[in-house]
Amino acid sequence: MLVKVMAFASFREILGRERELELKAGSTVGDLLDVLASTNRRFKEAAFEEPGQLREWVLLMINKKRIDPFQDLGAELHEGDEIAILPPVAGG
């Protein structure tokens, strides 16, 4: 299945703003992050405390809705989902 990965601010500088990614059917949010980490060492270092453990400040959105990176990494993705990877917000 094809999903859209978006990244912003410091993560945009590492991953690019937007890309499409082909994942196996049934892949989870965690699987997606592993794919990104395994193909991009800077992303792995920026986003992960240690293998499999995201830094606590990393924010994730699926289809523009926040998910809890500590509870919902097992959530299954679907064709066309838009996953956004964000550092802590700092507007205003």
Binding site: M6, F8, A9, S10, R12, L59, M61, K64, A84, L86, P87, V89, A90, G91, G92
Partner: protein, 141 residues
Amino acid sequence: MRYSLPSPGADGRLIKITEEDFSLDEMVRAAKRNDAGAVVTFLGTVRDDGIVEMELEAYREAAQTMLEHIQEEAESRFNLKSVQIIHRIGLLSVGDNIVAIVCAAGHRDEAFQGCRYIIEELKSKVPIWKKEIGKDEERWV
């Protein structure tokens, strides 16, 4: 300076994420209501902390949705008559406008509280980021 003319709905509401500068006079004119006696405005500007420029980036669609939610919540909590929010993105210099929030209410306490609520919510929840660009280094804040 370019001004973007707000085009609010008939109810004086406006939410905009834009590269263009804005005019508080225009925003206030659009926010005014006959039953509103108080308008409180927050304007955030680029402060000189030894920086040369500031780069602002937004996850636009998500930020717009989040701001709409904050606006509705503020209107109902503080009985606001109208709310206008403009947040700029792109490359800004010291002194440039970053964000304006205009809240019209019947009375001043509502307008002050509503405006404060919106900027606090915006800063803690809306997916917008700032990068400070100094002479020798850059950093996301």
